[in-house]
């Protein structure tokens, strides 16, 4: 099949995955495996006075019980927060470095959240390991728990880490304080809000797991993550071994969304245990462990304000956020939060002045990490809620106030005063397209129909700009095989998105060869030479670009080889659709014959590149949500959702729609159903799917999506990134729709998630019944 960029090719992965032939971690079986379980802290905060594993070590079938003492004896290093790593370094605004709290794979003297690992038990069977874990004697001396940023910063608060006084990790600002204050002082109107961007549990479908085998010095880690090479680097760091001695293998990954990029402590433990025992060690986490010990997301207590002139034009934006970071600082979490929140704080709008401060605090909860839309989802929540209330207070039309303040396409490239220069963007055209797609004008008639059925109806919108970033370089290598096959090796792999399909599509389109010729190799450091992984909507942008450039390098090499074969100079050779041709003649050789020629000479017809592409791109869009609310119960039904997106050039509209739908679905979860609840003692109350509500298919409307392609000049494919617009734009659009429906009741704000009782209470004294 000949393919082109922009064609809706169906996923090649699905046949395998839908027939149960995927190879997830549970499917990996190694000979002579030993089974491991983790003994975890039942306390949110406690000193460990005594830890005695002797009875467990003597229990039937037990092969090893590891505690922190074993880690120390083997020189294992704490998991690195990487705030001082030159690649991700960020300093506090006063120039100081951030504290880097230790994060041991097994607790040292102290536990800091429920589920903190305390001991690792390895036995012949999982049941024996569980039985033995129950025999470990641990004497905890409980300490008071800190469960939000406000109590973490309070004088006299219990301190989690000695190295982080006041539990503070960071204080970072961007913008002009004085200009912002001056603008507020002369403003015609100031609108203020206090918001909570709710803590989320990622809940990917495949629970965490890890396996390792060791032969001599060679360690093989079977892991579930978002980049094999990153895990190799961290494991070699923690164990103090050479990267060449570590191989990381990732098969199919059942959902990533960002949190799977975190190098989990159990990766170290399986490797250590396998090395000690000389046999493979397998740890498969269960769902309860996922809830308490997966890294979580968001959790910002926000104070924000917008200053406006008499015409509703924005004069300034002032935002501060206290970030509840949980008990530890996972690698790159601070970098991701700051890099994706500050620089897009003004979104699609012009603010002559702005200021944003982020303060991060440690608490006795699961650590926070990047989740799909990190930073940008918080920024759009702040902006679009502020704008909505400013319009209401000034009695301005909600669309008109946005129109007056959008950055015009003519202003591109645009310096947003928060550290970003937008390369392109047609925000007003996109908003208008979304309003048409949503039939904004026809809303009144639909509202009347709802009213006739006793229901409230509201509509809301959100314009957003996000920044797709991530580590600068990504690797790809293309090899032509004389057996008429293209082998493609890429450093960034999937966790369900369909990378195999789109990489092959990009390569086949670039070379003009059949799609079926491509075999994509991902996720094994022994097979793929380098890589970083999926994060920050970067795979198509960076790995896709590397695929294109790798193919071009291969073609240039092919021209030399073809020149050999046809006795022509490479400069006279053209390449098209599989054929090298001497220009202006009928002399030609096929790429696969050139590959055979290369092979005969002991060479390969291949092209590899570790492509460095540091610039960010700015995917943007507009979402319009429409809700119906049962006024007697507060139950919200999202009845329509429309989404126009500029992801740059569209590679595969079918898979892109999947990304958009999935992102909006996750945004619906944050806006309407997902509530993470810890009690005052730091116990997780929403610790199962019976209590933590992931939205279901029947919570979704049929989505209307459209694309508005404004290609990005910064990469060969012209793409901007598609993974995170859904989660960035959906929550504020939904909240604005709910508040619109509740205006008659005097509602001016609503907490996420907008669960039925929350909505019912927001109706206040005027609610029915």
């Amino acid at each position: 099949m000949n393919v082109a960029i922009g064609q809706p090719i169906r996923r090649v992965e699905d046949d395998r995955l839908l027939r149960g032939q995927g190879r997830f971690l549970e499917d990996v079986r190694l000979a002579h495996e030993a089974q491991a379980v983790v003994l975890r802290s039942p306390h949110a905060h406690a000193h460990i006075r005594l830890l005695d594993p002797s009875a467990a070590r003597a229990a039937p079938g037990v092969l090893a019980v590891l505690t922190h003492a074993d880690l120390a004896a083997e020189g294992v290093k704490s998991l690195p927060p990487m705030t001082r790593d030159p690649r991700y370094e960020i300093k506090n605004s006063d120039g100081s470095r951030m504290p880097e709290p230790e994060h041991w794979p097994l607790a040292k003297d102290k536990v800091r959240h429920v589920g903190d690992p305390v001991a690792f038990v390895v036995a012949e069977t999982r049941a024996q390991a569980l039985d033995a874990a129950a025999l470990i004697a641990v004497d905890y001396d409980p300490l008071p728990a800190v469960i939000d940023a406000a109590s973490a910063r309070a004088p006299g608060a219990p301190v989690l880490h000695d190295g982080a006084p006041g539990n503070r990790v960071l204080e970072w600002s961007v913008g002009d304080r004085k200009a912002t204050d001056d603008a507020f002082a002369k403003a015609h109107r100031v609108t203020r809000l206090k918001l909570h961007n709710n803590r989320l549990i990622c809940a990917y479908l495949e629970p965490r797991a890890a396996m390792a085998s060791v032969t001599g010095d060679a360690i093989t880690l079977y892991a579930s993550g978002q980049g094999a090479h990153r895990f190799r680097e961290t494991l070699s760091f923690c164990l103090g071994v050479a990267q060449d001695d570590v191989r990381v293998v990732m098969g199919d990954v059942g959902g990533g969304f960002g949190p799977r990029g975190f190098f989990q402590p159990e990766n170290v433990l399986v490797a250590l245990a396998a090395r000690r025992l000389g046999r493979p060690v397998r740890w498969i986490g269960d769902r309860a462990e996922s809830f308490t010990t997966d890294v979580q997301a968001r959790d910002h207590a926000i104070e924000c304000a917008v200053a406006l002139d008499a015409n509703g034009r924005f004069l300034a934006l002032d935002v501060s956020s206290d970030w509840n970071m949980g008990a530890y600082v996972p690698a790159r979490a601070v970098f991701a939060q700051i890099a994706h929140m500050g620089p897009v704080m003004p979104g699609a709008y012009r603010f002559p002045a702005l200021h944003f401060t982020l303060r991060g605090y440690l608490t006795n909860m699961a650590p926070i990490y990047a989740l799909r839309g990190i930073g940008r989802a918080e920024a759009s929540h702040i902006l679009e809620r502020l704008i909505e209330e400013a319009a209401h207070e000034m009695k301005l039309d909600r669309v008109e106030i946005r129109r007056r303040n959008l950055v015009p396409a003519s202003a591109m490239p645009y310096d947003n005063k928060a550290g970003s220069t937008y390369d392109s963007g047609e925000f007003e055209a996109i908003m208008d397209k979304a309003l048409d797609l949503a039939d904004w004008r026809g809303f009144g008639a639909r509202k009347a129909q709802s009213r006739a059925r006793g229901l409230l109806r509201g509509i809301g919108l959100c314009n957003f700009v996000e920044n797709a970033g991530g580590a600068p370089s990504e690797f790809a290598e293309v090899k032509a095989d004389p057996a008429r096959r293209l082998d493609l090796y890429v450093g960034s792999g999937p966790s369900g998105q369909g990378h195999e399909t789109v990489y092959a599509q990009v390569l086949a389109a670039e070379l003009g060869l059949p799609f079926e010729d491509v075999r994509t190799h991902i996720g094994d450091t022994a097979i793929v030479k380098a890589g970083y992984g999926s994060a920050a909507s970067r795979s198509m942008r960076k790995a896709g670009s590397a695929v294109v450039l790798g193919a071009r390098i291969m073609i240039e090499k092919g021209k030399i080889l073809a020149g050999d074969m046809m006795e022509a100079t490479p400069a006279d050779i053209e390449y098209q659709a599989g054929w090298f041709r001497v220009a202006g003649t009928d002399k030609s050789v096929h790429l696969y014959d050139v590959a055979a020629h290369a092979r005969a000479k002991g060479e390969e017809l291949s092209g590899a590149i570790d492509h460095k592409q540091p610039e960010e791109t700015f995917p943007n869009g507009c979402q319009v949500a429409e809700v119906e609310i049962d006024p007697e119960t507060g139950k919200v039904d999202l009845v329509r959702h429309s989404f126009v997106n500029d992801v740059g050039r569209v590679i595969n509209p079918l898979l892109l729609d999947g990304q958009l739908h999935g992102g909006v679905a996750q945004g619906i979860g944050q806006a309407m159903t997902e509530r993470t609840v810890y009690d005052a003692d730091g116990q997780l109350l929403s610790g199962s799917f019976m209590d933590y509500c992931i939205p279901r298919a029947d919570d979704m409307p049929f989505f209307a999506t459209a694309f508005h392609e404004v290609p990005c000049a910064g990469n060969p494919l012209g793409v901007k990134g598609a993974g995170e617009g859904g989660t960035t734009g959906a929550p504020p659009a939904i909240l604005n729709a709910i508040i619109d429906a509740l205006r008659d009741f005097g509602a001016t704000d609503i907490d996420m998630p907008a669960a039925p009782e929350t909505v019912w209470r927001a109706m206040g004294a005027r609610r029915p019944g």
């Binding site: 309860a288 799917f689 039925p756 009782e757 019944g769």
Partner: protein
């Protein structure tokens, strides 16, 4: 899960004997509560006695104004039974909205009633219709069967064999599902029966209960308006991360009103 002995009983009598001789024997019907609890190591039965396949516990029949349902009858079978749909459509409707298709294809009425989860649906139908729970030892009226949170009148060695429901003149069930678990946050079953109007509430309190105020009002006028202004006290209702007692009390009124409207439609 801990190791246990599995038995497939050939009769109710044998099941009871097996349980008696076990150090800790649990009956297994649909397994929807027992199995997850065992998997989490929160239950450690020495012996699991499977009664789900017993012929004497199966089947649905309607005769003389009574619907009889064997204890091991699956929710899906009740939901899809033409006899139940005709005799007590509200009962088929309730069964058809328990959990999801997987749950309805495994879960049994006897298992649900023996477990008596405070948010389960079947207790509302049994209490609301004034049904009778039959065991291997006796017949227990609904009003004497439910004893609060996961507690019932069942004694050690007592197995539910069937449930008999008197056909009501009118009946309906309305539930407001917990968005996460889809159990009833509040469910109200209303029935106009020969013995008077009955209103049973599940999900809201520590166990299914009747509302005397609502029954009285509906006895005078079986119309939605009759209960629209009756407030249930939130004093003994559940309050948790999903809903406050006040909100649950409010939903009882709303669901009762809607159930009456549905019964009249």
């Amino acid at each position: 899960m801990y190791a246990f002995n599995y038995h497939r009983a050939k009769s109710v009598d044998e099941a009871v004997k097996l349980q008696k001789s076990a150090s800790e024997g649990s009956f297994l019907a649909g397994g929807h509560t027992l199995i997850p609890t065992m998997k989490q190591r929160l239950a450690k039965p020495s012996d699991v006695i499977d009664i789900s396949g017993l012929k004497e516990l199966q089947g649905i029949s309607v005769a003389g104004g009574t619907v009889t349902i064997g204890a091991a009858t699956r929710h899906g079978d009740v939901a899809n039974s033409p006899e139940v749909k005709k005799a007590i459509p509200a009962l088929a409707d309730l069964a058809g909205h328990i959990g999801d298709p997987q749950v309805r294809n495994r879960g049994t009425i006897g298992g649900s009633l023996a477990n008596n989860d405070p948010a389960a649906d079947y207790p509302a139908a049994v209490l609301g219709l004034g049904a009778t729970v039959h065991t291997n030892k006796r017949a227990i009226e609904a009003d004497k069967y439910f004893k609060g949170l996961f507690e019932t009148a069942l004694e050690q060695g007592e197995v539910i064999t069937k449930v008999t429901f008197p056909v009501a003149e009118k009946a309906a069930y309305m539930k407001f599902p917990n968005p996460a678990s889809r159990y009833a946050l509040v469910g109200v079953f209303v029935a106009k029966t020969k013995g008077g109007v009955r209103v049973a509430v599940t999900g809201a309190g520590p166990g299914v209960f009747r509302s005397a105020d609502m029954e009285k009002a509906l006895g005078a006028s079986f119309e939605a308006d009759a209960v629209a202004s009756i407030k249930v006290s939130s004093k003994n209702l559940n309050s948790d991360i999903h809903a406050s007692a006040d909100y649950r009390a409010h939903l009882v009124t709303v669901m009762a009103k809607r159930a009456v409207a549905k019964a009249n439609s």
